[in-house]
């Protein structure tokens, strides 16, 4: 279900690193040998076998990251991102797999469009890429796509991300039919009659600045609806970019009631609140919007206790000229692949708010589990999907050019700690 360009399998010995794989229960100074892209040996001391030796004293070797929510803008807006540039950005951010959303132009709603993307990925993807296909044709919310054929062509899941499915009846049919394909539905939950025209979370900041409010309940009533439908139909659903405390509560209740539901949160919703909007910087404009501090805290709690299993960037590249406009005229979305680990490490792990182990799990094993992907792991026999992290490295966002074709990062100019030194993806050295 994932595609990558042909890269030679790595032959490496990594030594001196602290090997940290929370899911495998490993936290020790170990050496790792990789033969032709596959982990051959993990031990106190491994045989070098004439491989290239990577001296990794002071670094952390962990399972590389999986981003279940990326916009590659291809086809249609190749000026903003391509499969090549987006996967290069992913590799630099420590990712070994990303999933791309289908809200492109044209929308990925047919086997032909999906097939062309698969071909592109085989030719140019630096890290393995999977593709979601649309739930409805053209994401118009009227007719289901041919999910069976799309799944056979390689769709990892189905989503109308960006264009919520307005009709409850159609959503029910989608959940029913997706079960035949054994693929989850990834849901953008937004009741547009409540969010309509809103740019900023409905709260004090929007009231003071004069922005039309996009209330929390615009998300949570849609989350409640879709989780009820999933429970009723025993379907599998994944709630994209959770932002509101009420939505998190709904997800927690549904999971307790054994609904097959999962959720994700983005770095920006975990670190920022709507207070950031006071800057009027279009690079803090996202959908869903940044919310209040109690929402942020609720998301963090849910990431900690596992209600939210995945951290996803919602990497949404936009052309510079489209963001150099007044806030209301700017499109929603920010980039994230190259900064996600560093910003979460700097603002959550270092201050002691989140453990490094939990962060690594939610950025790798969690999303892999939700979408049925092979879990990146440090174990003999596994494909090398590893990241070598330098937790002491300080760097300034924007100082080096982004690998992404777009620079609409909300972190431009910030100093962060933590960076990927090397990324192994699909057995190959993708970065470093």
């Amino acid at each position: 279900m994932l595609w990558q360009k042909g890269l030679p399998g790595a032959n490496l010995v990594i030594r001196g690193a602290r090997v940290l794989d929370p899911t495998e229960g490993i936290d020790a100074r170990l050496e790792v040998r990789i033969d032709d892209g596959t982990i051959a040996e993990v031990a106190q001391k491994v045989d070098a076998n004439e491989h290239r030796i990577v001296e990794a004293d002071g670094l952390v070797l962990a399972p590389a990251f999986v981003d279940p929510h990326v916009h590659l803008r291809t086809p249609g807006r190749e000026d903003e991102e391509t499969v090549a540039s987006g996967t290069a950005a992913a590799a630099a951010g420590g990712y070994c797999a990303i999933l791309a959303m289908p809200n492109t132009d044209p929308v990925v709603d047919s086997a032909a469009t999906l097939g062309a993307l698969v071909e592109a990925a085989r030719g140019e993807a630096q890290v393995p890429v999977g593709f979601l296909a649309a739930i409805t044709r053209g994401q118009r919310g009227e007719e289901l796509t041919e999910m069976g054929e799309l799944a056979e062509t390689g769709a990892v899941a189905f989503s109308d991300d960006g264009m919520p499915v307005a009709s409850a009846g159609l959503m029910r049919r989608a959940i029913q039919y997706a079960s035949v394909t054994d693929r989850p539905l990834a849901l953008h939950c937004e009741e547009t009659t409540l969010s309509h025209g809103g740019h900023v979370h409905e709260g004090r900041v929007a009231a003071e600045l004069g922005f039309a409010g996009y209330p929390s309940i615009a998300e949570s009533v849609a989350v409640e609806r879709d989780l009820s439908l999933a429970g009723y139909e025993s379907g599998r659903v994944h709630v994209l970019h959770l932002s509101a405390a009420e939505s998190v509560e709904a997800l927690r209740r549904a999971r307790e009631a054994r609904v097959e539901a999962s959720g994700e949160a983005t770095p920006h919703h975990l670190v920022l609140t709507d207070d950031a909007v006071r800057s009027l910087d279009p690079n803090v404009k996202m959908n869903p919007p940044l919310r209040a501090e109690h929402d942020r805290v609720a998301l963090l709690d849910a990431v900690r206790d596992g209600t939210i299993e995945a951290i996803a960037t919602d990497h949404a590249p936009h052309a510079a000229h489209e963001k150099e406009v007044p806030f209301e005229a700017a499109p929603f979305g920010v980039t994230g692949l190259e900064t996600a680990f560093a910003v979460l490490y700097t603002h959550l792990v270092e201050p002691g708010v989140l453990s490094l182990e939990t962060l690594l799990e939610r950025m790798s094993a969690g999303p892999a589990r939700i979408f049925g992907l092979d879990r990146p792991r440090v174990a003999p026999g596994a494909r090398a999907n590893l990241v070598l992290l330098d937790l002491d490295r300080e760097w300034r966002v924007g100082e080096q050019p982004f690998r992404s074709r777009s620079g609409n990062s909300w972190l431009l100019g910030s100093t962060l700690r933590g960076a990927a030194r090397m990324t192994l993806a699909g057995g190959a050295v993708a970065f470093g």
Partner: protein, 326 residues
């Protein structure tokens, strides 16, 4: 929480320019200085020759992306009374019609090295964008539903001139607060000078979590020294939005009529009025109406603002001396 530090990436250079973008950027001291300067200019306007040479040789660009009568005319006249050169650009009939972005229009006008750009724009934050991409001092003449700082200043000036003080006054702001940049600026300005504010209007037109006392009950205007009536911004109400069932219903519950006012209670309105909707014509034309006084205040306050952003100080002896010479 993260502070957004994108400014840090810009090369260090000149100290920041003086702009008037939001009332939120002003201190009480700034307000006092501006009102004092306006008072001085008002005195000068009582002279036979009304033109002052103060800003001779300066270029002031008025860039208006929305229709406006009183704001645009008073900025233009304020600049002319101070002997500045003015250039008026309206979005209609300009390159904006051809789809030019705000950034490019600002860069184009910026190439003439204007000293001040006065901008009115339908989108929040447009003046900040112009301030970022040009070297001019920028004055916000209204950006979307966000701010209209010169309106708030002229309202303070009017209140002080007509009621003799600001501290301790009570003002009720009535109507469509949600869509009103006037209300947003005014609430901040009134708080700065110690005026108590109550907002009154239909529930859907009072923004949630707005930092002021708010009620739907029109009776709440009773204790106010001044009732500030907002325009019912019908053009901002999309069909089917249902903020209120009808204008008729609005007028019946929240329209300001002579019966709803105490004798001597003053009335203000930023204009343009919808007579018979939010304000009864008898109220608009009554001796307690300060509405035309507000317009006159607008001229001297805008003179004060232009003077202040360019010179950074209170108008003093030199300006008056210059007036004598003129």
């Amino acid at each position: 929480m993260i502070r957004l530090v994108s400014d840090d990436l810009r090369p260090p250079g000149d100290p920041p320019k003086r702009h008037l973008l939001s009332v939120g950027d002003l201190t009480r001291e700034d307000v006092e200085r501006l009102l004092g300067t306006a008072r001085t200019f008002e005195t000068s306007l009582e002279r036979h020759v009304k033109k002052l040479p103060t800003l001779k040789g300066h270029l002031i660009v008025n860039l208006f992306y929305e229709s406006s009568t009183r704001t645009s005319s008073s900025f233009e006249l304020a600049a002319k009374r101070l002997s500045a050169d003015t250039l008026n650009v309206k979005s209609v009939g300009s390159s904006v019609d051809k789809g030019e972005s705000l950034k490019d229009t600002a860069l184009t006008l910026g190439a003439y090295d204007p000293d001040v750009i006065v901008i009115r724009h339908p989108q929040i934050g447009a003046p900040q964008l112009v301030a970022r991409v040009t070297e001019a001092h920028v004055v916000n003449a209204g950006d979307g539903k966000h701010q209209h700082p010169t309106q708030a200043l002229l309202d303070l000036y009017t209140l002080r001139e007509e009621l003799g003080r600001l501290e301790g006054l009570q003002v009720a702001i009535v109507g469509d607060v949600l869509h009103s940049r006037v209300a947003r600026s005014l609430v901040q300005a009134l708080a700065l000078v110690g005026v108590r504010v109550t907002l009154v209007g239909p529930p859907a037109l009072l923004p949630r979590e707005f930092p002021a006392e708010a009620t739907a009950d029109i009776e709440a205007i009773r204790d106010a020294d001044v009732v500030y009536i907002l325009r019912m911004q019908n053009e901002r109400m999309e069909p089917g939005a249902n903020f209120v069932p009808s204008l008729r219903e609005y007028t019946a519950r929240w329209g300001i009529t002579p019966e709803r006012l105490r004798p001597g209670q003053k009335v203000m309105h930023p204009g343009p009025m919808n007579r018979g909707v939010e304000i009864d014509p008898l109220v608009a034309d009554s001796p307690d109406s300060l509405i035309t006084r507000q317009v006159r205040s607008g001229l001297v306050v805008r003179m004060a603002v232009l003077y202040d952003v360019l010179t950074g100080g209170p108008v003093g002896v030199q300006a008056l001396a210059a007036a004598e010479v003129a």
